[in-house]
């Protein structure tokens, strides 16, 4: 408990850092806006055209917007960490909180909690807003897998933000991380995933998105898939911690 007490001011400090930058605060809002907004717009446009018009898996179709929301989550996670590498901002931060583990974990915890809260709101809002436009094809909360998808989609977005945050601490640049991750989730994972069956299912986004699928094709279930994603995010966060601890500021 004594060790935890000095962490409260540093958590408070991290929250002020996030809310005082347009980029990070905007990224957080964009998670909700992109996921639920694109879901609702797409559903309104083509949702009632025919059965399965948004994809053969109706649950995954209800989270079509997550492909866009995850990019906002990455922008938020990467931005929260990369702002420390802007000029010499890190030196000021570490002078205020010299214990690097405390500094880093406070930042990761703040990113995680904010992403989780936003993610949970997004998960529910996306389902409700999207299904409102699906007419006769709409799913209802309580249908098989729907609660899991609502909660799981929020967790997925949280893990994506943490994955990007950890990687940014390792590579010390949000631009580098985003220019690696965005093409990866939009193209590489998609193409590789369609082509190869085996290892590709363990890629972070493909494994994690199983939580919003109703049909499983590979070896992973919805929660084990999310678990694999959590391992990726955990590894990135751990790598970031080692980098922040070791390097000169």
């Amino acid at each position: 408990m004594r060790a935890a007490l000095p962490t409260v001011p540093s958590l408070h400090s991290e929250w002020i850092k996030i809310r005082s930058l347009r980029g990070t605060l905007g990224g957080l809002i964009a998670v909700l806006a992109a996921t639920a907004g694109i879901q609702a717009l797409t559903a309104a446009a083509i949702g009632q055209a025919e059965e399965g018009s948004m994809g053969s898996d109706p649950l995954f179709a209800a989270y079509y917007g997550i492909s866009f929301g995850q990019i906002a989550a990455m922008v938020f996670g990467a931005g929260a960490v990369s702002s420390e590498f802007h000029n010499g901002a890190l030196r000021t931060s570490l002078a205020a909180v010299p214990n690097r583990t405390r500094f880093y974990l406070s930042k990761i915890a703040t990113v995680g909690v904010l992403a989780l809260l936003t993610g949970q709101v997004t998960g529910l809002a996306t389902f409700v807003a999207g299904q409102a436009f699906m007419g006769q094809y709409a799913l209802e909360l309580g249908d098989p897998g729907t609660y899991r998808a609502v909660v799981g989609s929020g967790l997925y977005l949280t893990l994506m933000a943490l994955f990007a945050a950890g990687l940014t601490a390792v590579l010390r640049s949000g631009t580098v991380v985003l220019s690696l991750l965005i093409p990866f989730v939009l193209l590489v994972s998609f193409v590789v995933g369609e082509a190869a069956g085996g290892a590709a299912q363990f890629l972070p986004d493909r494994a994690g998105q199983l939580v919003v699928h109703s049909r499983m094709e590979g070896d992973l279930g919805p929660w084990t898939g999310l678990g694999v994603m959590a391992l990726w995010a955990g590894a990135a966060v751990l790598g970031g911690w080692l980098a922040v601890r070791r390097r000169d500021a």
């Binding site: 400090s13 005082s20 000021t92 500021a249």
Partner: protein, 303 residues
């Protein structure tokens, strides 16, 4: 409590030693000028002191404790490292607010230091719109936030206008007079001599001098008197009797090496020689400082 102790401090980057076996103390109650040419290791020493960089060997402590081990670092040490050490996208007030939060300080402190450093009127502007002088004031505001007993200021006059330079000079002297330790780096001797009581001079990472300002001046400047007289012939004879030599200066005045004005004045009075003007002439501090650092450069070059 408020002293800084540097002991055998070394920071090596590969085979290059940015800081090389430094040992000195910074004591409270006075302004210590931290001098050296660019690249002498001043900023590195300050970063090592704050635990931002890791020392290869040796220690740097504040009141006997490493910065990392201080329970309330912002209340003990205030640092201005670099005017650019702030994210340009934040407002000045938000920058200070997150620091205040980390140090458990009331929001009132933020407004106080904004007033004290004269940037209250631009507090809600983004830092990227600030001039170098305004950033420098913000950095000083951040250093003062926790009302610390130790201040580390790296080139604080950078970018300040003449009015700002006088302000920071008086601020530093005031802080030292309140019993704080103030370490101020600069690469300009002329500037440092205006506010420092004590000097620590570095060259290529090594300690060249650790002395009071007065001792530095006495030891490093040759004694010389400059005068005007209506009777140089008698004065020359009188001086020669005492072992001094009168030499003509280019502007119709005369100079005497190795003597003080007081001594020469007495001698002239005794002899009844009219002296129209008389003053001690100190070799310029800047010159003494350049000689010191140049000596060192020569020493390392022949090494």
């Amino acid at each position: 409590m408020n002293s800084i102790e540097i002991r055998e401090l070394t920071k090596a980057y590969g085979s290059h030693r940015a800081v090389d076996g430094l040992t000195f103390d910074v004591l409270p109650g006075r302004v210590t000028g931290f001098l050296g040419p660019n690249g002498a290791g001043k900023s590195t020493t300050m970063r090592l002191l704050l635990g931002l960089d890791r020392a290869t060997s040796g220690t740097a402590t504040i009141g006997g404790r490493r910065y990392l081990d201080l329970p309330d670092p912002l209340h003990r040490v205030g640092a201005l490292l670099d005017a650019q050490s702030a994210h340009g996208g934040r407002t000045a007030r938000d920058h200070l607010l997150f620091l205040a939060a980390a140090g458990r300080m009331p929001v009132r402190r933020v407004d106080e230091v904004l007033e004290q450093t004269g940037i209250a009127s631009v507090a809600r502007r983004r830092i990227k719109s600030f001039s170098l002088g305004m950033r420098q004031r913000l950095g000083i505001a951040a250093a003062l936030l926790g009302d610390p007993g130790v201040l580390l200021l790296d080139e604080p006059t950078n970018g300040l206008d003449p009015e700002g330079i006088i302000w920071i000079r008086e601020l530093m002297r005031g802080l030292a007079a309140e019993g704080r330790s103030v370490l101020v780096s600069s690469h300009l001797m002329s500037e440092t001599s205006a506010f420092a009581d004590h000097l620590v001079v570095l060259g290529k990472g090594k300690l060249l001098a650790d002395t009071s300002m007065a001792e530095f001046i006495d030891a490093r400047s040759t004694r010389r008197v400059r005068l005007r007289t209506s009777d140089p012939i008698r004065l020359r004879v009188a001086l020669a009797r005492e072992g001094f030599e009168l030499a003509a200066a280019d502007d119709g005045r005369w100079t005497v090496e190795g003597i003080r004005a007081e001594q020469l004045g007495n001698l002239a009075a005794r002899e009844g020689i009219p002296v129209l003007e008389l003053s001690d002439e100190r070799a310029s501090l800047e010159q003494a400082y350049l000689d010191l650092t140049a000596d060192h450069a020569q020493f390392t070059a022949t090494h």
